[in-house]
Symmetry: C2
DNA sequence: CAATTTTGTATGTTGATTGAACTTATTCCG
DNA sequence: CGGAATAAGTTCAATCAACATACAAAATTG
């Protein structure tokens, strides 16, 4: 038998691929630099010749992905360079989110700026999916309207959901905390009609939140990290070499069901001692004696703000519960690091708000359990995005696709600028 | 701030890259097919034109990577096709291994056939690293000699070690079961001199064993899987999309120190309740009451063969210990699957030999703990390579590099065929 | 034995990068 | 103040790899 890796989709490189690849490189040079770059800078940084860089830039200008700015005040002799920056009106993405207690939407432009944002608070549990998604479509239509009024060509929208999303088709297999299962969210939203023609995709909320952290610099510039997303459930988005890791079926990052105590309390997933039962929001409330009824969650429970308030006031049983939860989380995270060897962990969602109490036990467990900790200390950072991480990541993912492959037709919804 | 992924090494595509890429595609077409393929087959399978495929094949012939064989008996009309197969004498790789109780070496050719193999049994613990590596160099020199006598150009050698290997330089940070630490194995072996000019690399034993499984089809053709490597320690090699996953520093796959019972027995790593303390070889012996002295390992303990014998005889305390170990292993594996979503697990090393008793509890825990198990059942397979997995993987990795990038100079040690 | 079919090769075209002029715009320096 | 130096950006022929088409080669089919 031949030594060979399993069948790789053999896509041959045509001459066009060359141009596509180099277009992406040139565009990323512009995107990465905080200041305007010149054609000559691109040539120097990439190793391409100035003439090639010029040709590529012309193509990017024609696609409205970059824009020329006034020559920067020159430092030294020679003809001053024409500055190139990303065109803020060149392409935009829409991020949408359905979560247990809110719906949200935003528009992000090519430069990463948030051009529109809207959030509707409200418990979605028990509502029929069609009603929830109709309301989400309202938000989406409003976001699209804003983009159109501002002349932004929208490249697509990404929907974040708190559940298992199957890889190829985007079927939502299970969203335990919403009570949804086997639902084709994209089809329902498309059926609404108002987003006709807009490429839609869907992903797990924790995955998109991790992207949001990366785009906003929350991971401290690391290109491989794990972003923890604590809400009712506990999720993790894994980013490796700047790319989201989804796994074979798209179900990677289900850290919430790692076994912390294999014979511990039963979990809704059927197993025992899952992290979610030790460090999820309800577990913390339960351990601190803050639930109305043991085990069941009621609307009207203390929210995150109230939880922070109580912790700040030094309530002992809550502090003990937070330390316990942080320890469990730390054990899980240490396992993740031993397994996939990332150097950065981002605390997001609930854990960001509660970071002053959660981070220390997490760091303690990491220090004690990560085998390679003495050679490569692990950095624990705290998200600054709050609940916006997933929509920012979803919108950013649309924009990122344009940055990654500027040559492929990214089907912009060409908008005729209407009078406001 | 711009929406952008962190700095990607911007390597521009020249026209040469096109050719390189397509050469690789063409070569892999030959490698993947169990039967000879024609130039026309390559064109049809890849979408390249027949003329381009012809040009590429000419280049591969010139590099001695493929060989023409007699036209296959034609089925149907038309001119019969000239068969193309990998040239078994085109390129070869050497695999080397230092493990706790043996040293090994092998030579694998371009077709994946093992052309040489040698194993020296013996406990390496406590021996000075220089002495051990000198003996390994003996094995390597013998392997190289065999290759040279047979006219095989050797592309390099890979050394497998049971420990943490740091990514860029190959420094062996820690090999707990050998008692080695912070050792530059490659430098010591190079200093020996007999392998002068041969590109050397080094990797974790479990990682290379996983590659060995992939090359030999042990993962059932899956391109993403986890290969468990049970010996004194417990390791895992993670293969994603046909590529070994090493992590940021090269320390991925340290499954042996996942916490199964966070407050369980202390581990040599400093933490508590690590998998290695529940499912490692010594833990099994201890739980079955088969160690001479509690906790310490002695040469002269029951070996793997004896263990299998005792299990087959139905010794109750051993069967209980194996079930216990399998459960712990299953809990860990279930966690890994929830995290990285692979569909196949390969039991290797100790666990392959003990598979009849280890596999059932592993499968039981997977069924109970993997969140997505009902939609995508996990396959558990058993390695057929025994202790050879790592050397096969190491040698195969050298060969694979040639197959992946046939255009890059893979510095063959051109051997003048000497008279035997 | 001629028609058909398929393989493999030869030849001119297309598209993208290169390298070497060349133009343009600015600073440096006498 | 003005020429030299310097750097940015453009132009154009050369090169290289893939493509399209035509053609030669070697078998089967009727």
């Amino acid at each position: 038998m031949a030594v060979s890796s399993p069948v790789t989709t053999a896509v041959p490189a045509r001459q066009r691929s060359l141009r596509d690849h180099n277009l992406g490189i040139a565009l990323r040079q512009v995107a990465h630099s905080p200041e305007p770059v010149s054609r000559a800078d691109i040539a120097a940084a990439t190793g391409l010749t100035r003439s090639t860089a010029s040709t590529l830039v012309d193509a990017l200008l024609a696609r409205r992905l970059v824009r020329e700015v006034e020559p920067v005040a020159a430092s030294g002799a020679g003809r001053p360079a024409t500055g190139l920056v990303l065109d803020a009106d060149g392409a935009a993405g829409i991020g949408l989110e359905v979560n247990v207690d809110y719906l949200a939407a935003c528009v992000v432009d090519l430069t990463g700026a948030v051009r529109h944002r809207s959030v509707v608070l409200g418990d979605q549990r028990g509502r029929p999916p069609e009603a929830v998604l109709a309301e989400l479509a309202d938000l989406a239509a409003a976001a699209l309207g804003t983009a159109q009024r501002r002349g932004l060509p929208v490249g697509g929208a990404t929907i974040a959901v708190p559940g298992l999303v199957e890889a190829p088709d985007g079927l939502l297999r299970l969203a335990p905390n919403l009570g949804w299962h086997d639902l084709d969210v994209l089809a329902v939203v498309r059926a609404d009609g108002r987003l006709a023609g807009l490429p839609l995709s869907i992903d797990n909320e924790a995955n998109l939140a991790a992207l949001g952290e990366m785009y906003s610099g929350g991971a401290g510039g690391a290109d491989s990290f794990v972003a923890l997303s604590g809400e009712i459930g506990v999720g993790a988005g894994i980013v490796l070499d700047g790319r989201l890791f989804r796994g074979t079926h798209g179900w990677g990052g289900e850290i919430g069901h790692l076994a912390i105590r294999p014979d511990g309390p039963p979990c809704s997933c059927g197993a025992r001692g899952c992290l979610e039962q030790m460090a999820g929001q309800e577990a913390i409330l339960r351990a601190a004696g803050l639930t109305n009824r043991a085990g069941t969650t009621m609307a009207g429970q203390p929210g995150v703000d109230r939880l922070v308030e109580l912790a700040e006031s030094g309530r002992p049983d809550l502090l003990a519960a937070l330390d316990e939860a942080g320890s469990a989380l730390g054990v899980a995270v240490a396992g993740v690091i031993n397994l996939i060897d990332v150097g950065t962990v981002v605390l997001g969602g609930l854990y960001a708000a509660l970071a002053p109490w959660i981070a220390p036990p997490v760091e303690r467990e990491i220090a004690g359990r990560v085998l390679a900790h003495r050679w490569a200390p692990v950095t624990v950072t705290v998200s600054g995005l709050g609940g916006d991480a997933a929509i920012r990541g979803g919108a950013g993912a649309v924009v990122q696709r344009v940055l990654d492959e500027p040559a492929t037709r990214w089907s912009p919804l060409r908008t005729s600028r209407t009078l406001a």
